[in-house]
């Protein structure tokens, strides 16, 4: 894609949201919106100004990001280790698969009350919930990827006498990489959702609690400000991750981005 067509794509994509904002603002100004508690776009922008000015937004954003990224990093690390173990060892697979299936079928949100009892109303509680939700997609995709190393690659590894560790790092993980990259994205958005949920129902801090207190203070403009913020966080985190992929795994991403086979 050339630079000018990329710019064109972005501009075209902005038409719909711009139109929605204009119509929304007009409807609110003309009194056509039947719901009093839906703020106008202008009110939302104004409350952003106030939240940024008193540092409230930055503090809540920082807290939620810490819980989300901390849980995601921890969960991904555990998931990769677990996935490698289950993918490499037939015995580990046989003994553990039933447990994995049951554990990952439990909605992570069901663990929030018990996490509050264990960790009380703390950041650790949020991180533990975000970790839990991040573990499973990463575990399952790593395990599948590791187990799908081809027989040809096994032969190559044996004839070059690669060690167990080399087989994991040089064959199994790169084989799992395309699936793993997708899973890491999935677990990142999962971790963000669960961090906010944990703040709404558990720990009074961060964006989740800001939403709750704005509701109780009857400040729908602030609520909308925070809701839109979570969307922006998701977008930015995903974009950053794509950037990291491009540099960290160029062979995989180049291939994923539409290589059309050999010459």
């Amino acid at each position: 894609m050339t630079a000018s067509s990329r710019t064109r794509g972005v501009l075209l994509g902005l038409i719909v949201p711009a139109a929605i904002i204009v119509i929304w603002q007009l409807a609110k100004s003309l009194g056509a919106l039947p719901y009093d508690n839906v703020p106008s776009p202008f009110q939302i922008v104004r409350s952003y100004g106030a939240l940024i000015a008193d540092g409230e937004l930055a503090r809540n954003l920082g807290h939620t990001l810490l819980a989300c990224l901390g849980g995601w990093a921890l969960g991904s690390a555990i998931g990769i280790a677990l996935g490698v173990g289950l993918g490499v060892s037939r015995a580990a697979w046989n003994y553990s698969m039933a447990s994995v299936e049951v554990l990952r079928a439990i909605p992570a949100i069901a663990f929030v009350p018990i996490a509050v009892i264990i960790f009380t109303q703390t950041l650790q509680m949020e991180i533990s919930i975000a970790t839990w939700v991040a573990i499973w997609p990463v575990t399952v995709s790593t395990m599948n990827g590791v187990a799908s190393v081809s027989s040809e690659h096994h032969d190559v590894a044996r004839s070059l006498r690669l060690s167990w560790l080399e087989r994991v790092t040089k064959l199994a993980l790169p084989t799992a990489m395309p699936k793993l990259l997708v899973a890491l994205r999935l677990s990142l958005s999962g971790a963000l959702v669960l961090a906010i949920v944990a703040e709404i129902v558990g720990n009074p801090a961060g964006i989740g609690y800001a939403l709750v207190s704005a509701q109780q203070a009857l400040r729908p403009d602030e609520m909308f400000a925070y809701i839109l913020l979570t969307g922006v966080i998701g977008l930015v985190l995903n974009g950053l991750l794509s950037l990291v992929y491009r540099y960290a795994a160029p062979g995989v991403t180049a291939r994923m981005e539409g290589a059309t086979g050999g010459a």
């Binding site: 081809s150 040809e152 690659h153 032969d155 190559v156 044996r158 004839s159 070059l160 006498r161 690669l162 080399e166 040089k170 064959l171 790169p174 990489m177 795994a249 062979g251 995989v252 180049a254 291939r255 290589a259 086979g261 050999g262 010459a263």
Partner: protein, 272 residues
């Protein structure tokens, strides 16, 4: 079973032979009981020799090569010696080039990192770079080192695999129908490159193929595998002048005579 009384193992070491197999057999377990694919295969390959194993598809050529590579254990009582010592698994002196180059290369690694795979963690960085460079120059791919395998043609991908084997500086290069999937022009080009590389490095080559012309053109000796279960039905020396040429060698009456003989051996082998 009784083993021959061993005297001094060092004195017994047979260093003239790269490989020596005796009474080798292989059985696979199938639903209908054990299936014997190789029976009483006796075969030797001298150091520096170019040996082809020829036979129709499904005769167990690849199975034999996998045994030589240490990837497959033959039936109990079979003897497979590499440089005079019993082969127990993949040996650092033996490198193998597989038939399916696309599946054997690591598609997420560049050409040079594919070639470096077996050296990583075993030799220093400078030596590794020098050896990778040398191997890539041998196969004429030094300028494509930063490309990914999927960006190369089939012939080039197979060259990468050959470089990955050569970089290990093996005493023996095992090749499993390496040019079988390539078009005729690329095939003859790679045959000549292989002969040139072999002349430069002095590597012993054991080459599996079902192509009679290829076997005769490349080899010093041809073993014909045939029958079910397969055994070595014919062994032929190929005394054609070196270096070989796609034009003059293939017009040589001796070449035609050997070709005829191999062809007849394959036909009688089928008759069993």
């Amino acid at each position: 079973m009784t083993m021959p009384a061993t005297t001094d193992p060092v004195a017994e070491r047979d260093t003239a032979h790269a490989f020596a197999c005796e009474g080798l057999f292989v059985e696979y377990d199938t639903k209908r009981g054990p299936l014997r694919v190789l029976e009483d295969v006796t075969f030797t390959c001298k150091q520096g020799e170019f040996v082809s194993i020829l036979g129709p598809s499904g005769t167990g050529k690849t199975t034999l090569l996998r045994i030589l590579a240490g990837l497959l254990t033959p039936g109990a009582g079979s003897s497979v010696q590499f440089q005079g010592a019993e082969l127990t698994g993949p040996n650092p002196g033996v490198a193998i080039v597989f038939q399916n180059y696309a599946a054997s290369l690591l598609q997420w690694r560049t050409v040079e990192r594919n070639v470096a795979l077996g050296l990583e963690g075993r030799v220093g960085k400078d030596e590794r770079n020098a050896r990778v460079q040398e191997a890539l120059e041998l196969v004429g791919l030094a300028d494509r080192r930063h490309d990914y395998p999927w960006q190369l043609s089939g012939g080039m991908q197979q060259r990468v695999q050959i470089a990955r084997a050569l970089v290990m500086r093996p005493a023996v290069l095992l090749m499993d129908e390496p040019f079988g999937a390539l078009d005729a022009m690329t095939k003859s080009q790679l045959q000549d490159e292989l002969l040139r590389v072999r002349a430069l490095t002095g590597t012993t080559v054991v080459f599996v193929t079902h192509d009679i012309d290829e076997a005769v053109y490349l080899s010093d000796r041809v073993f014909v595998l045939s029958g079910k279960p397969a055994r070595v039905s014919t062994e032929l020396g190929v005394e054609l002048p070196q270096p070989r040429s796609q034009v003059t060698t293939k017009e040589d009456p001796e070449y035609l005579r050997i070709r005829h003989e191999v062809y007849s051996a394959l036909r009688t082998g089928d008759g069993h």
